[in-house]
């Protein structure tokens, strides 16, 4: 980890100097006061204040490092790429024979993603959401869920009967809700408790 140590008349001044050196803002660093310093009396016995300022790792850096190390220990040589740092931090794993990393209905991928979110948010005040994809699995799943939503909606309209989908994760349910939001004849709602929470699609 990168850090600098600075001395100055006051702690505040020393911190300012260090931040300039690191080219960082206060919320990107950890400050450790090594010596409070002493103004002395009229300049006599004055002692400089000393601080160590350490650059904190960015959440996306922590996430990528964790995933890389995990993949290595799982025995996969894959590329781990940062795709986006907007609303979500998106990380994409690319490589061959990555089926086991995804697991049944993405269960392994979801477990990895859950662990990454815990690790990244362990010491942070702000919550960062991390989404991990493997070879576009989530994108493909999203498309098939949207298609499923449209098909079921059509079926509900023709049979005039509600339809209950299989249990899904929160983000998967959101895809279904969003896909049918603009449909004037259909309502979607989630029922049940996690992890068996499911969507019911019915007529308005």
């Amino acid at each position: 980890m990168r850090y600098v140590e600075k001395q100055s008349k006051t702690v505040e001044d020393a911190v300012e100097l260090a931040l300039k050196d690191l080219n960082a803002d206060r919320d990107q660093v950890e400050i450790e006061v090594l010596d409070e310093g002493n103004r002395g009396i009229l300049g006599f016995l004055a002692k400089a204040a000393k601080v160590r300022v350490t650059l904190k790792k960015k959440p996306e850096e922590i996430a990528i490092e964790f995933v890389e190390q995990l993949m290595k220990r799982l025995g996969y040589s894959v590329d781990v790429e940062l795709e986006d740092v907007g609303e979500f931090i998106k990380i994409h794993i690319k490589g061959e024979n990555v089926g086991p990393i995804i697991g049944r209905h993405g269960s392994t991928l979801d477990a990895i993603q859950y662990l990454v979110n815990l690790v990244v948010n362990k010491d942070t005040q702000e919550y960062h959401r991390i989404i991990i994809d493997v070879e576009n699995y989530r994108k493909r799943r999203e498309e098939s869920l949207e298609k499923l939503a449209q098909n079921i909606a059509r079926r509900v309209k023709s049979t005039r009967k509600s339809f209950s989908l299989e249990p899904m994760l929160a983000y998967e349910r959101r895809i279904i809700h969003t896909a049918l939001q603009s449909d004037q004849e259909i309502v979607t709602k989630s029922v049940g408790e996690e992890p068996n929470r499911r969507i019911i699609i019915s007529l308005k």
Partner: protein, 75 residues
């Protein structure tokens, strides 16, 4: 397999120096005993065992590759 569990556990807890994993090998299965600081138990188990379940799921993916059944026990 030991390194995998150890790495995940150390990343989750507040006292990584107190994490240890012991491997007990059976005929068809491997038991991995994960030990953490008492204060960190919640960090590897989670609400309703959600974190423990995630660790087991990831380990299972690694075990499938080696064709063995792996059990992770938190002690």
């Amino acid at each position: 397999m030991i390194e995998l569990v150890e790495y995940i556990a150390k990343a989750l807890v507040d006292h990584p120096e107190n994490v240890s994993v012991n491997q007990v090998e059976g005929e068809q299965s491997i038991i991995l005993e994960l030990k953490v600081d008492p204060e960190d138990m919640g960090k590897v188990i989670g609400k309703q065992g959600r974190i423990a379940k995630a660790i087991r799921t990831v380990v299972k993916a690694a075990a499938a590759k080696e064709g063995k059944r792996v059990v992770v026990e938190i002690i």
